[in-house]
Amino acid sequence: MYQFNLHAILGYFGQLPSSILVTLEITLIALGASTLLALPIAKARMSGSRVAALLARAYVELFRNIPLLVLLYVYYFGLAQSGLHLSNFWATILALTTNAAAYGSEIIRAGYSAVPTGQREAARSLGLRPAHIELFVVLPQVVRVILPPFANHCIGVLIGSSIAAVIGVADLSDWMLATGSEAFRYMESFLVAAVIYIGLCQGVAAAMAALDRRSRRGAY
């Protein structure tokens, strides 16, 4: 009869902090890079240029409909064959970034379309310069609108970062795979990793909710 026994994998707990850090590192880099990439994509989709809008839409549809895991294989194995060798860490970052930029650009686009045109007109009639209108009038309102969906987006990227383990990056999921198969304690290692992922997601959600509350302070 199987006995649930956390003590059996206690010896592997020492590697947990560094593996959690790798997961967070991948998540943060991919979130930052994908947001930088998402902004011009969203702008292109809203621009008057038909070609730019079409290209942006093609990007979004393409990267939203290909599984993250398959994207990772394209970058890690596919590109290597054509001479571009990415390390497993950067292949993971690239897969997450190109995927998250598609979702992120949709969130940003929805944020911009939620700002009434009257706001721009009012700012212009007050004599503000175009750059100042963007930065001080439109952007703060966009940020306020997109914070709640962006929180879910952050959690999506965090969960997606587990693809790293498939190509051997030593993240939290990799800790689970390694611990499970070395100690033959699959259920224990699964539960430990699952609880940590749930905790990380709750942490991200709480942090984003606090940011959301802060952004609403003094509004309206």
Binding site: L62, Y73, G78, S173
Partner: protein
């Protein structure tokens, strides 16, 4: 790498993998819908402890990466229960847990979107909770519920690619096997991307068209 033939000689392997991918994700969606409906309703209308339990279920399975769910369902459950699950069975379990968490959220949002006045009207007509839910609230909620459920199906279909790590020869694993034989990684993975894209894009475009139709059907 030792190479034999071209990727295209193995089209049958891709077709078989694709059939399994669609089959697996469809079964997971149907079962996930049933479980997600129960949990979503429990979270919306249940007594306090039931609400809390459903909330914990949804939040947990939304936060666990699919890679972990497939691993836990295949290796974890087999070792713990002594029942050896096939890769297919384990994949169904993992995907149902994931899909039901997402669908329970959709269900909750759909049922809460029905105007409160509908409940008052149902009570005024003398209907109790279940008849009111079934004949008045339910039909209105279902209409809101269908388009996002198709969105969940696309997500589930994409995540079914993780079934490859427990050895199920669905589309992604089929590609990996062909890659081992032929050695042409780039063609194999671009082909996989293309197949997934065509299926998912077709489904999500259909969902969008459906959404437009339902919006005008009021």
């Amino acid at each position: 790498m030792f190479a034999t033939g071209s990727v295209w000689d193995y089209w049958r392997v891709f077709v078989n993998g694709l059939v399994l991918t669609v089959e697996l994700s469809f079964i997971a969606l149907v079962l996930g819908f049933v479980l997600g409906m129960v949990i979503g309703l429990g979270r919306t209308y249940g007594p306090h402890p039931v609400r809390l339990a459903c909330l914990v279920f949804t939040e947990s399975f939304r936060s666990i990466p699919p890679l972990l769910l497939f691993f836990g369902a295949f290796y974890g459950l087999s070792y713990t229960t002594g029942v050896t699950l096939s890769p297919f069975q384990a994949s169904v379990i993992a995907m149902v847990l994931e899909a039901s968490a997402f669908i329970s959220e959709v269900v909750r949002a759909a049922f809460r979107s029905v105007d409160r006045g509908q409940w008052d009207a149902a009570r005024a007509l003398g209907l109790r909770f279940w008849p009111a839910l079934r004949t008045i609230i339910g039909p209105q909620a279902i209409r809101v519920l269908i388009p996002p459920t198709i969105g969940v199906y696309v997500a589930v279909l994409k995540d079914s690619s993780f079934a490859s790590i427990v050895g199920l020869v669905e589309l992604t694993r089929a590609g990996l096997l062909v890659r081992e034989t032929v050695g042409d990684s780039l063609t194999v993975f671009l082909l996989l991307s293309g197949i997934y894209f065509v299926i998912n894009f077709t489904i999500s475009s259909g969902a969008l068209a459906l959404e437009r139709r339902f919006r005008f059907a009021h």
